[in-house]
């Protein structure tokens, strides 16, 4: 089984966000595999161990993103492809999905996995867009996956409910929390990761024109959420508290 995983390198979830000159600064920041993509990597390795074949991890990003691919290889992925994003201007989900599609159209695959969204910009678009471009079905936010021959069965998280979906290979699925418990990379895995094949591509290698890849969205402003103010504890008799709460929700918070 040829298994592809699309992953993104993101800020470590505990990093503080600092905005400098209207941009999010990545100075001194620790990076990780986007946690949802980590579920995809784990699921891919399990599929490979069960059905045989190879796991290829693919990312679009700067040089440092290679570390994310190496980590996936230390977990057990077989090879990696990184597409340099230096020539991409104002890239958004539209651009990234097109680049990934260009990489993948030259590859053999039975299934493509990814996280359902990246924790940084949280758009949850790249997976479905990629499936559309490749003209294959997709199931998003899966929490269980079973493959038997050509048939695919997935459990999909829908806001707390579960949908059971059947489909067929080739397919693209995106991982929701709960799909699995990603393994720690083993020490020998880490030591061997560097020796696994890693292909570095740029837009020229893919016959892509950067003008066709310009994002469809425009960022007007980047700002931090307002600082949380101290809460207010209501006092007095219960009746009075309820009255005051309703009054504050109406006049101060303006939510009712």
């Amino acid at each position: 089984m040829d298994i592809l995983v699309c992953l993104k390198q993101t800020f470590d979830t505990e990093e503080r966000i600092v905005i400098e000159d209207g941009q999010i600064s990545d100075d001194g920041v620790e990076f990780v595999i986007n946690p949802y993509d980590e579920y995809a990597v784990e699921e891919a390795i399990r599929l490979r161990d069960e059905h045989g074949g190879e796991v290829t991890v693919i990312t679009v990003g700067p040089d440092r993103a290679e570390q994310a691919l190496r980590t996936a290889m230390a977990m057990g992925a077989d090879k990696g492809i990184i597409v340099d994003d230096e020539d991409l201007e104002n890239a958004d989900e539209y651009s990234i999905a097109r680049v990934l599609a260009a990489v993948i159209k030259d590859l053999d695959f039975d299934i493509i996995l990814g996280g359902y969204m990246a924790i940084d910009d949280g758009s949850a678009q790249v997976g479905p867009r990629l499936a559309e471009l490749l003209e294959i079905p997709h199931i998003s936010t899966i929490t269980k996956l079973t493959i038997d021959g050509e048939s695919v069965e997935a459990e999909k998280d829908v806001e707390g409910d579960v949908e059971y979906i059947q489909s067929k290979l080739p397919i693209l699925v995106t991982a929701q929390q709960g799909l699995n418990d990603p393994r720690y990379p083993s020490l020998p895995g880490i030591m061997k990761a560097k020796k696994k094949p890693l292909e570095q591509l740029d837009l020229d290698d893919l016959d892509l024109d950067e003008e066709d890849l310009e994002g469809k969205t425009e960022t007007l402003e980047v700002f931090l959420p307002p600082e949380k103010e101290a809460g207010k504890i209501l006092e007095g008799e219960l009746d009075e508290q309820v009255k005051e709460l309703v009054q504050r929700l109406q006049s101060e918070a303006k939510v009712i």
């Binding site: 570390q67 230390a74 990379p185 880490i190 990761a193």
Partner: protein, 379 residues
Amino acid sequence: MDFDLTEEQRMIRKLLRDFAEGEVAPGADERDRTKVFPRDVFKKMADLNMMGLPFPEEYGGAGADSISFAIAVEELSRVCASTGISYSAHVSLGCAPLYLFGTEEQKKEYLVPLCRGETMGAFGLTEPGAGSDAGGTRTTAVKEGDEWVINGSKCFITNASYSDFLALTAVTSKEPEGPEITAFIVPTDTEGFQVIDNYIKLGLHSSNTTELVLEDVRIPHQNILGEVGHGFKQFLVTLDGGRIGIGAMAVGIAQGAYEAALQYARERTQFGQSISKFQVIQHKLADMAMNIELARNMVYKAAWLKDCGRRFTKEASICKLFASEMAMRVCDQAVQIHGGYGYMHDYRVERFFRDVKLTEIGEGTSEIQRMVIAREIGC
């Protein structure tokens, strides 16, 4: 000059950070109270092949370097110093002498199961009358036919209750210039071998510290580690490596205490502002950050020299001495910043404060480190 960790070293740090947070930290306070050895933690570490981290794959190791070993000890000690010291002793005192001085057969028979984590490594050196002064060693080994008969006792031996075998030193001949010392590999289930786990300690409650009693313990000649009479030289080399481990352990404890103190200082409000806004607290935290950074750099340097195959005796002593003394101050001040809460068990710094003292004592006291450094600089 390159101050960046390699890709592998960074991945190992990330792995050990995640592993320590996810698997070691949750039970650390509980283990400290109940004095339970973290067996399940070491089982999980064995599954990830961490127990033979710096040894070649052919012996079941992972083929990583000494810097990675220091990183591993630091990350474990940052959340649980008992786990940190048990691991450090396993690698640098248990595995290393077998790797450095063992015959090929001995490596296959003893180093491989240690690297696979099937048993814990230990080293029997210290005696009631002999610490860093090996001349005081009283344990004797007398040759009878093809066997050696060992009698004596050892104290403060880390991990031995969980060791299937360990290397220990004994006097094999009394020469005019001092005792001739030889190291033997002794299975702990040999008749006459007793491991006593009975100490009441200041800290490191979930590490295993034992006394060994040997009464007419008979072992075959082939269990000599290396050669007869090489024991003294061997343990000097072994302790050099062990000092990097204790240095890394001290850095880890200090880092854990510092992070707790910084977080507390930011959250604790007095006189209308968080106490981290007071200069007196800021200076304490700045000193901690500075000293930890310096100590970590020195640990890395000693480990780097070792990885390059160069002499590192002086640097190992410097890193161990500096790291342990600064860690002692850091933990003291971390408790101080916490005030009354710092004295309570619920705030981790109380445990760090008790645990850290060992780093100024184990594998050569601070006084011995100064002797070693003085000798190395030509006094």
